[in-house]
Symmetry: C2
Subunit: 334 residues, 2 copies
């Protein structure tokens, strides 16, 4: 369904002129040097361990602006509330948004609230849009890349990954999706896993100051499997992962086993994968590990031209292909 | 409810630094010279005479960017679809968005689609966010204003209206709200009234080229009554309207009588009220009437310090106060 919709939307609304247009289907768009991002949040339930729909809405948009090489400047928040939502729940969400904004150093400058009658909606939907400027370290970063190889693009695009690039993952995967699932009724499992939802602008800033980064992307919907397949497809490269290096919390691993989920497809909200020229990989990794959001960072794979899919060297030996997620394995997690 | 929510949102998310911040509660925000607007559309039904949720989403955001003195540059469209929405309806909405974008000369550069399970939503909600640049004629326009009086603001704000300003309305009121109501089941009335939903950027552009405009606002939710009360409150002026001059279509007038609605409170999506220094009022009116969207334009009132409310000189003689709409007289029209 998602891909069908994408096709229809692109068909009708695509073709516009921009530095990074709709048709690129990248994390955000760039027009006239302004980074623009819009995302709607429909997570269910709206409160979960480690976060809520409000912190998610702020992090998601802030992070996508960073991923393309922007610095978030301001947010616009659109609330659609169901009449049944309690004012105290709404206020709790607002408080959480504010504290996440403060962490990220952005402010909400405009917004809109619509109320729908009871039963028309599930409690609350938030649309979070944001604008950003070009990160002041982006030119330095691209300059470092160009010491080692050509790169036409002025932004950090999904299509920038090249053979030999090292892929660095900033921490454990699956935490967000599992924390949301654990808060749903009827799943009957308990976990101490908390959502990783966090703004990543300070982390990405540090990496650009070092330089050598060609692409960044956050493994949200569809998890690492979706992210890497998008890179592989848009950059025309294969990707080889090393399973042993991918950090996964024990609680997440066991929850995935119990629920029959592939952790590679479970969404995250405070993680990033960075594609770096090999000459700068260790240095970028080091910078990432300096920050709390990147404490568990690891080099998890590299781009290759040996094949054109995403493959993983498994712990038990042998390789398995990681296909793009067929559907949404965990719907409504963001 | 709306005002309660506003209070909570401002309380928690307000206080940010911007040229025109959230706290101004103006049509759009301005930060770093970039105009930013976000609005969600939940109109019911999604198709109505003269438009649909798609044309509405584009017009609403484009127009709000214009109202503050911006030129729309790009849009971000967030779709929340219910599983039950047919692809052909969705495609019809996309086609309508595209044609409205083409009329307005803007493109959609990014977006997002979320699907919610059947029953979680009523078919489709669209969030439309947009960015704009400062209109290139805005400085000229403000220069003309300053020939006649002081004006501190660099943008066209709700708080700019001053004693003696003439208020020009660009055309008939109530068309949009009545067209949406006529498409709802159970109201049992027929009308040929079509929604006025239209992008206003070319019209507002023409007015700024003449100059003398201090504020512009589109009478959407809560209609003319809401617009004028917002101006009165934020500008600390009274407003005196002349009922005889307010253009209303016969079909709208009779539908309002039948339904017990005050046409002053019914929403519009292709109209603007402009506050102009009196010396330039006739010239601005003339320019408005040159364009199809402003064909029926009229000077409908003026700002005064005689009193501090919105009052109307009625057709039968005497004055009546136009209070701010108590609730939403026609919910879900945008």
């Amino acid at each position: 369904m998602q891909s069908l919709i994408k096709q229809y939307v692109l068909n009708r609304l695509g073709g516009g002129v921009a530095d990074v247009p709709l048709d690129a289907l990248d994390d955000a768009a760039v027009i006239d040097g302004i980074v623009l991002k819009s995302d709607s949040y429909t997570v269910k339930p709206i409160f979960f361990p480690g976060g809520d729909i409000g912190s998610l809405a702020v992090c998601g948009t802030v992070n996508d602006i960073c991923m393309i090489g922007g610095t978030p400047v301001a947010l616009a928040e659109g609330f659609i509330l169901e009449e049944g939502l309690s004012i105290s729940d709404f206020d709790k969400i607002l408080v959480s948004m504010r504290s996440t904004c403060d962490k990220a150093g952005v402010s909400v400058v405009t917004g809109d609230t619509k109320v729908m009658e009871r039963g028309a909606l599930e409690k609350i939907v938030i649309n979070s849009s944001g604008i950003g400027r070009r990160n002041t370290s982006l030119d330095h970063n691209l300059g470092v890349v160009r010491k080692y190889r050509n790169l036409g693009s002025q932004w950090l695009l999904d299509s920038n990954v090249r053979k030999g690039d090292k892929l660095i993952l900033s921490g454990t995967i699956g935490d967000h999706g599992i924390s949301v699932l654990s808060a749903r009724k009827g799943y009957g499992f308990e976990t101490r896993v908390e959502s990783d939802a966090a703004p990543l602008n300070q982390l990405t800033n540090d990496l650009l100051q070092i330089g050598g980064v060609v692409a960044m992307k956050d493994p949200t919907r569809g998890g690492l499997a979706n992210l890497l397949n998008e890179w592989s497809e848009k950059s025309h490269v294969g990707i080889l992962l090393n399973e042993q290096e991918i950090p996964i919390k024990e609680g997440v691993r066991s929850a995935c086993e119990m629920l029959g989920l592939d952790v590679m497809e479970v969404g995250n909200e405070g993680k990033v994968v960075v594609s770096v020229v090999p000459e700068k990989a260790e240095e970028v990794l080091g910078a990432m590990q300096q920050r709390p959001e990147g404490r568990d960072a690891a080099i998890v794979g590299e781009a290759t031209l040996e094949f054109d899919v995403v493959a993983m060297e498994t712990v038990v030996g042998g390789r398995r292909i990681i296909p793009p997620p067929a559907g949404d394995p965990v719907p409504r997690i963001c």
